[in-house]
Symmetry: C3
Subunit: 319 residues, 3 copies
């Protein structure tokens, strides 16, 4: 996949009229656009809405990396809008060997499919296809490389708003774990900045924190206790087991000792602290059962919010 | 997956009001509940009914063991009730590695999915999840370990009723094959007892018959000719090829010689005997072509009854 | 799978009343039947029609060979007609090991599925099942062995008609590549003859051309320049990489040198030449980027026509 010059996701996703054409990243998204998506998602959550706005519209889940949760969540969102779903799992498809992602995309687009929910291991891969998509076609980035996972960012913000109200200016949030390799963390950071979060703390071992502009404006610490002190929300990240093989983390036990969230540590946070995790969880590694299943946990509410957040996005792009 | 104490499927599936909340086993099911499901399934078979009772409802096929026939049958049943189907195939999913079945279930439940059709290699696995399911969630056991496959039991009873009438009190039934490892046989035994079958004969090599209370009240024999003598119905079981590797069966030829149903042997049965098999068949091993495709065979009718039996169950649980 | 005598696809697919019951091959299809399918497909293409003619009808994609594009195209076609789709991928299914294709088909048919879209590696496999299908069941051949891929032939003819008009009598068409192993080429040849194409040229290396009656009436050449001279349409075929291993083709470079379509060569064709390819393309092997993405290429239009051609077929068989 090559285009003339590297495309900038935040430019590609907005039409000349300022309307959202694709959702590639939360980075650079105008605050009113972001808040309108959250408001609509909340409305759908409150009403349990099932409509037929996308009846006759086909949405393709185009996954070049395997995923089950995100794919199912988008599938359910599409169903609740009356859309027809087509699944293309490039990670198991043998027939498209040798075909480029661009040819695969163009082929399915030519079938009259209007919505694409795409995941890809390469940064910018979704934006590259969005840049060449036809005028009626919309792409949703369901995760590209380490860059962005914007609907996860949306559902996390929706979850925080439900717990803490719409005004984030007094909110202290800690993001803990492998921020370096996490598209979830990047989308959360984008969204928290847009919504004006009061303080963003980022915590993890040095080898798992980015050394670029990702953390601009954040309080960075390698000490979990310091990160948790008085925070209103903790956003835990999944530890990918390949970090061990890469030598970035010593052992699961070691990681848990320093960066695992347990009840004892959580007591440093505000009394009404809430805990989020994008799942799937490594229980006993980055998070203990007592926290994951405890009263502070919003982890299952995140999952439910994922469906309505994705409904709001699909409706905005295709409705 | 652990819960405080081992849950008893027959307790978990009935609400305090006696209403069926889940379908985990036919064991202990009140006869009127069982007969109501069969009556409704028959009504749907007669009318070819397609309705929209589950429109807007999501049903997830949650298979931790591979299956094609059962999954397709439940999918078709869901479609005929207007439900949206989500497929989760844990046997091929790589993304949920390390996630427990409980977390997978809770996650999909949190997406607003109300019906779960679950298959799992462990006895009691479906009941364990049913015990922790939310109030609006219903689980259907599509096969757990060797314990139960209740919708197969239902469709087999429906098929027998169509052929032999509703009164089973004079009915002589033979179940032949690997009863020890068969959840199908257990669910058939549960149902036949509840419906008051006149005589239940169980036949197979000693190594493939259970040595516990499963066969209480049955006539047990290792002689197929004796088992078939004058019976009204023969329920053949599939021979899993791994029994050879386990040393429980000598060879396919040997098994066929002693326990394969052929036309010569079938002549010992009643003139209007009917033959059932849950499929997929090992032709030439447990059953010969002439029997499988002959006038006594109800094997394809079983498949059709599977769809309406599952419709009746899903409608009762989710409608 | 065995039947008494080898069944002839063109006989099986037409009922005694001359009505199309299955679509197995374009070979021997009466011209009015073929043209009616093309006319209906064109009507659907023009209107973007989405209807509910197959509401409540189940269509099963029964693939014994992997395919993504064709399966998705049929799935979209089914959705646009309101049908319910069931997918059976025998190439990944482990549960039906040992079960014959006939038993698999009969089982799914017994679930009340009326339409089957089937792909199989063996010539005649779809026709064999069609010969034993029940009266309400229709099969569509989505590719069997090297024999036929009739909906590809239909969509190619639809694409040619849109570009060149309905009268093919003055049309010069070149089919280039591995005709010997190509069911696409055979279905195109059948259709072009029925529609009275003016001249059909077939071009490829000797090892990749058939030595039977397939090419009757065609101009055969091993020289691509000669094949292209003044032609109105070029139908390129995909080069399967296994031809190298089989020793039928020296190398990709060698194949490209002699049979790859580039802009320089394409200039030999008529000024308004159109280029077709069934996909997926081996870019830089049988076709260059400049041709594939150039103004003569109808390759993406073929994909769109595939959906409406398949809608027309499914509607004719099941509507």
């Amino acid at each position: 996949m090559t285009v003339q010059e590297p495309c900038v996701a935040s430019d590609v996703q907005l039409g000349d009229d300022g309307r959202l054409r694709h959702l590639l990243t939360l980075d650079g998204l105008p605050r009113p656009v972001l808040e309108a998506l959250l408001d609509r998602a909340q409305e759908m959550a409150d009403s349990g809405e099932i409509n037929a706005r996308l009846s006759g519209t086909a949405v393709c889940t185009l996954f070049f990396e395997p995923s089950t949760r995100t794919r199912l969540s988008f599938q359910r969102a599409s169903q609740r809008l009356g859309a027809d779903v087509l699944a293309f799992d490039a990670s198991t498809s043998s027939t498209t060997k040798g075909e480029t992602a661009l040819d695969t995309f163009r082929t399915i687009e030519a079938m009259g499919v209007r919505g694409f929910v795409m995941r890809h291991a390469c940064d910018g891969a979704v934006a590259e296809l969005a840049a060449v998509a036809g005028p009626g076609t919309a792409l949703v980035n369901a995760g590209d490389g380490r860059s962005a996972h914007p609907t996860q960012g949306l559902l996390d913000m929706l979850t925080l708003r439900q717990a803490k109200g719409r005004d984030f200016s007094g909110l202290k949030v800690a993001i803990v774990g492998d921020v370096r390799h996490s598209r979830v963390a990047r989308s959360d950071l984008h969204a928290l900045r847009i919504l004006g979060a009061g303080e963003i703390r980022v915590c993890g071992p040095a080898a798992l924190l980015p050394d670029d502009a990702t953390l601009a404006g954040c309080t960075v610490t390698h000490d979990l206790d310091a990160a948790l002190d008085g925070v209103d929300a903790v956003m835990m990240l999944r530890l990918q087991r390949e970090r061990m093989a890469e030598g970035l983390v010593g052992s699961l036990e070691d990681y848990h000792l320093h960066y695992g969230l347990d009840m004892r540590r959580l007591r440093r946070a505000a009394n009404d602290v809430v805990v989020l995790h994008p799942g799937p969880m490594n229980r006993g590694v980055e998070i203990d059962d007592a926290v994951a299943d405890g009263p502070s946990s919003l982890i299952l509410r995140q999952v439910g919010n994922g469906v309505v957040a994705r409904m709001a996005v699909l409706e905005a792009l295709l409705g």
